[in-house]
Each structure stands twice: as structure tokens, then as C-alpha cells.
């Protein structure tokens, strides 16, 4: 029984992590509070829905199962482009004003949500998950690990590895870290900070798209899909500390696991309260989260 709870916790953590990874970039590295992140997730989810519909309409039924393979890069690409447009048209005016960026992006989120409602209709739409993800792994009597959840965990790990290599092992990533650490110095050394900003934000958005794609496996999707996750995702980033990927991972694991445990012990609503109390209590001990960037600067 505990094994199942553990797996559930892991599964929730992985979803949280996937949602929070994009935020870890936009919030952690760029200090922009992107409240439209939830809507980028929604865009990713609807991209998956569209890919599915296209496969249904134009390709033979035998090919249908493979739509999901294409849906992941498609949702990344679409969310990436939306993020790029958002950065170039709005976010760049808001660097250094985190609270203002929060309000402005919330407005953007509102517009995007309404746009989705106008295009796809207010009711939720269902995405048929591919048949190779049906069923699950039987590890014990009565303990079934659904393939969908295992797939999401694998997807998160893949995203994490890809991001690790991008941020810490590529030229682009090095430029990105340089700009985030010392913008003026990076600019002096010939890094195009504007381009780096745009790329960074767009990648964060693209990962939100992947998260949206993964969420279609968990149930039907609607225009307000992202709002369920956005605050939890921000809590992950706050708990994990900004600037390092490992903090985000720890934050997501912490919230996901405790959430499952508390909900198992009490009930859904009390569980959430207990998690919140735990987070605030933890912040008493480490106000900057699990992993804090050391710096001598004030503020």
C-alpha cells in the first residue's frame, strides 16, 4: 500500500516538476513572474489535441498511435513560438520589475484563456491517449503502475537531462548563465543579451508546452487547465530556491510527496493546508529555499 502511495507521490512530483521546470527558467534565471505560464501549458495541451485531430482526419487509423510522438515536439514548438512573441512584444519591457511582470502576464493569460475559449469552446475536450500507454506494470498483487504515469516520469527525466546539457554543457547555455549572472559584463564581452533573453524565455515556454502535452494523458483539457497548476508550480520554485535545477527537483519532490502523504492521512483539502504550513515552516528555516545561490549583493 505504501508502495502505491510512494508511486503516486512520485507521479505527482513529476507532473509538478514538468510544470515548474519552465518556471525555473523564466522565474529562476530571468526573475520574470510569468503568470501566463499556465496558459502556455494550455497551449501545449491544445497543440496535442490538434495533432491528434490531424492524425485522425488525414492518416490511416493504424498510424494514429504514433501521433503522440509527434505531439511532444509540436507542442514544444508552438509554445516556444508563443513564448518568443510574448517576450519580444511585452516581457522585455518588464525586466527588473517582477511584480509588474506578474500583473501584466496575468492579463496576457486572461486573454489567451479567453482566446482558447473562443476557438475551442468552453467545455473540456478529451485527448485519446495512444494505446501503447494503456494498461500498466503489475509489480505486486493489486499494485498496478500505469504506463501513462511511468511515461510522464520518463518524460520529465528526459527534459531534465536535456536542460542540464543545454544549460551547463552547451555554448548557448553558457551565454545564458553569463547573462543571468552579470548582464553588463556579458554584454561587454560581446554576448547579445537581447537574443539570449528571448531564447531563454522561449525555451521556458516550450517546456511548458511539453508539460501541457503530458497533462493530456491525465485527463480532459480545457481553457483553464493551466490555472490549476500555476500556483503549485510557483510554490515548487519558491521552495526549491532559484537558479539551480537541483533545487527545483527537490522542491517538486518535496511538495509532491508531502501532498500525497497528507492527503492519504487526512483529506484533500486539509492535505493542501498542511503542505502550505510545511512550506511556510520550511521557509522559516531556509528563507531562500533548498538551494540558494550564494551572493554578497543586497537584494
Amino acid at each position: 500500500m505504501y508502495l502505491l502511495q510512494l508511486f503516486n507521490g512520485l507521479s505527482i512530483s513529476s507532473i509538478l516538476l514538468l510544470v515548474a521546470l519552465g518556471l525555473a527558467i523564466t522565474f529562476g534565471l530571468m526573475k520574470v513572474i510569468n503568470m501566463a505560464h499556465g496558459e502556455l501549458i494550455m497551449i501545449g495541451a491544445y497543440s496535442t489535441y490538434l495533432t491528434q485531430n490531424i492524425f485522425k482526419a488525414y492518416l490511416p487509423a493504424s498510424m494514429f498511435d504514433w501521433y503522440f510522438v509527434l505531439a511532444i515536439p509540436a507542442s514544444f514548438a508552438i509554445a516556444f513560438v508563443v513564448g518568443l512573441i510574448l517576450e519580444m512584444s511585452l516581457i522585455r519591457f518588464l525586466y527588473g520589475r517582477p511584480l509588474d511582470s506578474l500583473l501584466a502576464t496575468w492579463g496576457v493569460g486572461l486573454v489567451l484563456q479567453q482566446l482558447a475559449r473562443s476557438i475551442f469552446g468552453a467545455p473540456n475536450v478529451a485527448v485519446t491517449s495512444p494505446s501503447w500507454l494503456d494498461g500498466g506494470l503489475m509489480i505486486m498483487d493489486g499494485t498496478l503502475l500505469p504506463y501513462k504515469r511511468l511515461f510522464i516520469i520518463a518524460l520529465v527525466i528526459a527534459c531534465l537531462v536535456a536542460m542540464y546539457f543545454y544549460i551547463y554543457r552547451s555554448h548557448e547555455g553558457r551565454r545564458m548563465r553569463a547573462v543571468m549572472q552579470n548582464r553588463d559584463m556579458a554584454a561587454c564581452l560581446g554576448v547579445s543579451t537581447r537574443r539570449v533573453d528571448a531564447m531563454t524565455f522561449a525555451i521556458g515556454s516550450g517546456i511548458a508546452g511539453i508539460a501541457g502535452c503530458a497533462l493530456t494523458l491525465m485527463g480532459s483539457i480545457g481553457p483553464s487547465l493551466g490555472t490549476y497548476y500555476i500556483v503549485d508550480a510557483f510554490m515548487v520554485v519558491v521552495l526549491g530556491g532559484v537558479g539551480k535545477l537541483v533545487g527545483t527537483v527537490l522542491g517538486a519532490m518535496g511538495i509532491g510527496m508531502f501532498n500525497t502523504l497528507f492527503e492519504y492521512w487526512t483529506n484533500a483539502s486539509l492535505g493542501k493546508v498542511l503542505v502550505f504550513v510545511c512550506i511556510v515552516a520550511f521557509l522559516q528555516w531556509k528563507p531562500m529555499g533548498f538551494v540558494a545561490m550564494r551572493s554578497r549583493s543586497l537584494d
Binding site: I33, Q113, V273
Partner: protein
């Protein structure tokens, strides 16, 4: 600010305020009952906006949790009204959830005075606790904002989840009387309107006093440079806690008045969206000016009630767009725009309340 001379501007300002107050009090003579009820609701919102402006406009702390403080005040009043309607018996929704006895924490709410006291105390204490655990550790800026938003989420899930005690998603509604007077009658409504108007003016004067006092100066100093304030020897955490608590108390008062006019309170009225809408009122009216915040709340809600029923889709687009435009192009809101025009006219007379150097 503390010792002002009777300059012509100040006299005109006072005349303006007096005219506005007179207009507020005489509104029942012109407006229909329906309009009056709407206006009363807007005035209640204006009270929250004043409280929100104290912490956001003057202290630079953005709270997205004011819906909760507003809502807790509203729930306290709703509990009293519900008990009066049911004559002290367990209210209807408790019966649906299988609750026979009145829960112990509902009992004292039969007393009007207790309910009002709780409507102010509960939000204040919650704000004080949250402020204590955050400001003391210098958890501020966006971190604080996110925590307030999380507080909103857990409070609404709690209110929805504990259906037997709170009425769940439907909230608490179905009131009949307040202190024996029927809530439906036009006379009671008029009196309640006057009370709301009086409270708004009282809160306005209180906020004005706070802002003009030495305390208010420290608040603005915290907004513009928290570390400098700390180096001078003040402890910003205490100031932040106190103003956050005052602001929450004001929101609680507004919530109580809101319930009287609207006749229902439910979790959807204090969730994430209403909380952030409150911020929008202040942003549009002009953060850092009290009159701007109050007028912004009234104007936005008026516009909402006019347009949102006719064009529900267009309204959301409009609101989203407004958020972006106000934040990017006019961070000081409408009052700030007027201030800018004044500033151009008279360079010498600096607008001491405008946000010239936002620290966040």
C-alpha cells in the same frame, strides 16, 4: 505633510472631498434601489482598494491574498446573518451534509457584536501571522506575493472541502434579517448604504492619517529602499507586519459590508481571480494615491457591471488588455496621469505621493 498651510490647492481639495462625500450621502435620493445596491457594493470594494493601496501603493508589498481577508470578513457576517435567519438552529446546508448540531465555533456568531469583531479580528490575525513568518525572515517581493496566492488557494479549497461547516461551493446565502430589520426592505438597504458610505469615508480618513503620519513616511521609505531604512536603524519587518494587518482588517470590514448588500458569499468570490482583480482596481486608479484607488475600484466595477453581462467575452479580453496596458504604460494609473499633467504645469510642486522611484 504634517503641517500644511491653507494653500488654495488644499482648500480646493477639501472642497472637492466634501462635495464627493455629500454626493455619496445624497445618492439614495437620485438612484433607484437597484442602482443604489450596486453602488453600495462598489463602495465596499472601494474600501478594500484603500486597504490594498496602503500596502501595495505605499509600502510596495503586493498581496494577492486580499480576497481571503475580504472573504473571511464576509463569512463572519454571513454566519451571523444565517443564524439569525434560521433562528439559532443549524442552517439548511448543515442538514444536507448530515450535521444535526450547530458546531461550537458557529454558536457565538449569533451575537452581532461578536460577528463584527470576528470579521475584523480573523483577517487581522491571519495577516499578522503570515506577516510575522514572512517579513521577519525577509521573505519579500515576489516570494511574499506567491505565498499570499497560495494562501488564497488553500483557503478556498478548505472552504469548499469543509462543506458541512461552510456551505461548500454554494457558500452561505438565504438571509432574512439583520438585527431584526428585514434585509429586503428599501429602508434597511438605504441605511446600510449610508453605513457603507460612512465607513468608506472613515477608512479614507484613517488611511490619509496613516499615510501622512511619520509611520506612513517610513512605509514609503521601505517601498523605495528597504535596505536603507534598515541601515538607518528601523526594523522594516514591524512596519510591514502592522500595515499588512491594518490592510487585512480593512478588507475584512469591506467584506462584511459586501455581504449585507449582495446577500451571498461563496468561495468563488474570494478566489484567485477576485483577489487579483482587486489589485487591478488599484493599479488603474493609481497606486500610491488613496483617492485613485477608491475611484479605480468604483469605476472598474461600474464598467464591469455595465459591460460584462452584455459582452462576457469582450470583457475578459478588455480586462486582460487593460492589465497589460496599465502596467506597461501607466504604472501610476489614472491618478498618476493627472499627476503628470499637473507636474508639467508646475515643476516646482513635486508630487510627493507619486511613485517616482519604485524599488521593486
Amino acid at each position: 505633510m504634517l503641517q500644511q498651510k491653507w494653500t488654495p490647492q488644499r482648500i480646493w481639495l477639501l472642497v472637492g472631498y466634501a462635495a464627493a462625500a455629500a454626493a455619496l450621502f445624497s445618492a439614495p435620493m437620485f438612484a433607484s434601489d437597484f442602482r443604489l445596491n450596486l453602488l453600495a457594493k462598489f463602495l465596499a470594494f472601494a474600501i478594500v482598494a484603500l486597504g490594498l493601496d496602503l500596502i501595495w501603493g505605499y509600502t510596495g508589498i503586493l498581496s494577492l491574498g486580499h480576497g481571503i481577508f475580504f472573504g473571511l470578513g464576509a463569512y463572519a457576517m454571513a454566519m451571523y446573518l444565517k443564524l439569525e435567519a434560521s433562528g439559532g438552529m443549524p442552517p439548511d446546508f448543515m442538514g444536507w451534509s448530515g450535521l444535526k448540531e450547530l458546531p461550537y465555533f458557529w454558536k457565538p456568531f449569533e451575537n452581532f457584536g461578536f460577528a463584527v469583531a470576528m470579521g475584523i479580528l480573523i483577517p487581522s490575525v491571519l495577516a499578522l501571522v503570515l506577516g510575522y513568518v514572512t517579513f521577519r525572515n525577509r521573505i519579500k517581493g515576489v516570494y511574499f506575493t506567491i505565498l499570499t496566492q497560495a494562501l488564497v488557494i488553500i483557503t478556498t479549497t478548505l472552504l469548499v472541502g469543509q462543506q458541512a461547516f461552510t456551505g461548500g461551493t454554494n457558500g452561505i446565502t438565504g438571509y432574512s434579517t439583520i438585527l431584526g430589520a428585514s434585509l429586503g426592505s428599501a429602508d434597511t438597504k438605504r441605511v446600510l448604504y449610508w453605513i457603507t458610505a460612512a465607513v468608506l469615508i472613515a477608512v479614507f480618513i484613517l488611511c490619509r492619517y496613516i499615510v501622512g503620519s511619520r509611520f506612513g513616511k517610513v512605509l514609503r521609505a521601505i517601498r523605495d529602499g528597504e535596505n536603507r531604512v534598515r541601515f538607518i536603524g528601523y526594523n522594516p519587518a514591524i512596519y510591514q507586519m502592522v500595515i499588512f494587518t491594518i490592510s487585512a482588517a480593512i478588507a475584512g470590514i469591506a467584506g462584511m459590508l459586501f455581504v449585507l448588500h449582495v446577500g451571498i458569499i461563496s468561495p468563488s468570490m474570494l478566489g484567485i481571480v477576485p483577489s487579483i482583480e482587486m489589485v487591478l482596481w488599484v493599479a488603474i486608479g493609481g497606486r500610491g494615491t488613496l483617492i485613485g484607488a477608491a475611484l479605480g475600484a468604483i469605476a472598474m466595477n461600474w464598467a464591469k457591471s455595465e459591460f460584462s453581462t452584455a459582452y462576457p467575452e469582450g470583457w475578459l479580453f478588455f480586462m486582460g488588455g487593460l492589465f497589460v496596458i496599465v502596467v506597461v504604460f501607466m504604472p501610476k494609473g489614472i491618478a498618476g496621469l493627472i499627476g503628470q499633467i499637473k507636474f508639467r504645469k508646475k515643476r516646482k510642486e513635486e508630487d510627493h505621493e507619486g511613485i517616482r522611484n519604485p524599488a521593486v
